[in-house]
């Protein structure tokens, strides 16, 4: 595979993946996003951040958006720009009504908070931008992640 030169490609080159709504298939999107990020020249630690964020976004889409309905699929659209990678993870759910609270390990250890519920926190903490958008028809929504190339360290 030849080396990818971000400045030589048209703006917003896209890679798309469509996943069945079955747990485990988030790893397909994760691996694809990692391959794209490596081609763009992202540092290894940022690739790992992106992998976790994409996996968690896909898990949310599979589990909560599409409610594990295998007749529905999750769309993952990766848009390559000169200095950033945008990933949209699209499902058929109505989107989030409100953001869950930041996980609190002390409350979890005391049984006052569910041990789960860390996906969105991890997404927000690991990428440069994260937004959750509900479709106007109430039947589709997406999460949009952006990770930027750190030119100083790249």
């Amino acid at each position: 595979m030849s080396e990818f030169k971000p400045t030589s490609v048209p703006k917003a080159t896209q890679v798309e993946v469509r996943l069945p709504s079955r747990m485990g298939f988030e790893k397909v999107a994760m691996s694809t996003a990692a391959a794209v990020a490596k081609l763009m020249g992202f540092r290894e630690d940022r690739v790992e951040d992106l992998k976790t964020a994409v996996a968690e976004a896909c898990i949310n889409a599979i589990e909560h958006g599409n409610r594990l309905n295998e007749k529905l699929s999750v769309g993952v659209v990766m848009s390559v720009d000169a200095d950033s990678l945008e990933v949209k993870v699209i499902d058929d759910g109505s989107g989030m009504k409100k953001q869950p609270p930041r996980p609190d390990i002390d409350r979890k250890m005391l049984g006052e908070e569910d041990a789960r519920g860390m996906g969105m926190f991890l997404i927000q903490a690991l990428v440069d931008e994260a937004e959750w958008v509900s479709g106007s028809d109430g039947k589709s929504s997406y999460v949009r992640l952006v990770i930027r190339l750190d030119k100083e360290a790249a």
Binding site: R22, K27, D45, P103, D104, I105, D106, A115, R116, M118
Partner: protein, 119 residues
């Protein structure tokens, strides 16, 4: 699709002479890993296994559901007077475990020898 989680237990003794139950995991740690993670831990007699050491050196993928299983184990261990430690996490998952606060309740070490030396 998710790779099966394998788990096995090894009984070691720390240089200080304390018995340590080492839970060695292999594969993914995800929502499907409940039996491997919690089941393996729960099969340990609590009275004789006060120090529990988790080996993640052969784990490539951990998601938030898998982290939740580790936290559930930590809760049970805390309620039973056990202490949980871990080693073998990649730099990325060391960062993730730190971000979610696990390091407040479970010591993380780079390698088994580092962990045993501290127990």
């Amino acid at each position: 699709m998710q790779s099966e989680t394998k788990a096995r237990v090894e009984q070691l003794t720390s240089p200080a002479g304390h018995p340590v139950a080492v839970l060695r995991f292999e594969g993914d740690i995800a929502s499907t890993s409940k039996d491997a993670v919690l089941g393996t831990y729960q099969a340990l007699p609590k009275e004789t296994n006060k120090l529990v050491l988790l080996d993640f050196s052969k784990v490539d993928y951990i998601n938030s559901s898998g982290i939740a299983l580790v936290i559930q184990m930590m809760i049970e261990a805390s309620n039973s007077g056990q202490k949980v430690f871990a080693f073998g996490l990649s730099a990325h998952f060391t960062k993730v475990f730190t971000m979610v606060g696990i390091t407040k309740y479970a010591g993380l070490f780079p390698a088994q020898a580092d962990a045993l030396a501290a127990l």
